[in-house]
Symmetry: C5
Subunit: 101 residues, 5 copies
């Protein structure tokens, strides 16, 4: 999985019928220290992530179908977790609570 930050949303009316009701987030990938990477991803969200939150994304069609409700959706990326904390060696790189203090 990769670490990413929620930056926005993508809205579509004319789409594969299976995607009705799927929330699509626009995410910026971050490196392991939390610095912004040039890469982005549009992923389906089922964990309720909001703008600025750090999440884990899983990028695999096989993985995307493991999320309940996605079994028949043509997705290649999903948000699987909202991150609370990241520890790198003994340093705390990210803490969701401090971010929002």
């Amino acid at each position: 999985m990769q670490i990413a930050k929620v930056r926005g949303t993508v809205v579509s009316t004319q789409k594969d019928p299976s995607l009705r009701g799927t929330k699509l987030l626009l995410l910026q990938l971050l490196d392991e220290e939390g610095h912004t990477l040039p890469e982005y991803e549009v992923a389906a969200d089922s964990v309720g992530a909001g703008v600025d939150e750090w999440v884990l994304i899983s990028r695999s069609g096989h993985a995307a179908c493991r999320v309940q409700g996605n079994e028949d959706r043509p997705l290649d990326a999903v948000v699987v977790a909202i991150i609370d904390t990241i520890y790198l060696e003994k340093r705390q790189i990210y803490n969701k609570r401090e971010q929002y203090r």
Copy 2:
């Protein structure tokens, strides 16, 4: 998924028999601000996208087979949605209607 812009089509007569009737679009990938990226993709379209429209592409063989009619096709990329709007933080980066005014 990645954001891409429809640029053209690829036509083939001699192909895997399962691909008969599949429309293959030539798509240029865009970054999250809508700037052109060097990467392109040829993807099967079943949502009826036309030249210059912005779409979402899903790049996974497993995902491609989730689109009705593609179950037995050897595809690794499909157009899954025509984009209406993209919001990045609070800015509207793209609006299909304004694009075509």
Copy 3:
């Protein structure tokens, strides 16, 4: 899928038993204007492509198994179509007949 040009073949005697009878082509990837990219791929061919022809390759193990006869082969790339024409906006970038006149 990506556009590629057939450049040669790879021959092997000692291989996974399922690959007996599989023709393996050496392909150079092309960009959307037909310029040579540094990347290559070795892919199984079942459409009968020959040297210098432009083809579409699908790079996914899941997709490769969708080609009849490949169901049990450990392939990650297959030639799925010989390209007749490529249109980019309103220009014709490639026409197989003109190529061979």
Copy 4:
């Protein structure tokens, strides 16, 4: 598979329900000589790897589901082995015991 070094952990409360109980490691990828690469991966661990250990990671949703207990988890990367030794030609590049002497 790629060689990676365990650097830390990622903790999440709000996540896909299937991920409860999954330990997520933050891993830095290494090249074949053991030098640090810029790439990282967050992968599920079921072999009990600890910080500074060198491991093999498998990056594929299909592969991740082959690990017992992961069958229904939306993972795209898993730690599959803790490395004892790496031999490159006739040189021993890495030996876990010497690392921890």
Copy 5:
């Protein structure tokens, strides 16, 4: 598939139980002319490749499971063939016998 050269082995005791008995080779990727690329891969071998041999590797979890005995293994890369000859246009780029004369 990609062309690669066998450079060594990776040994592990503490690993996913399904990997017992799997030989893991360390491979350097080669370009289509046989020049060394910076990328490497650790792949399971079931064709009996030895150091310095040129092989084809298939990098897909779905493909890896198609090799007999690998059905339940969390692999994302496998050696599928030992290369005898590579032809690029009309030149012979590689011949296993000449390599070992």
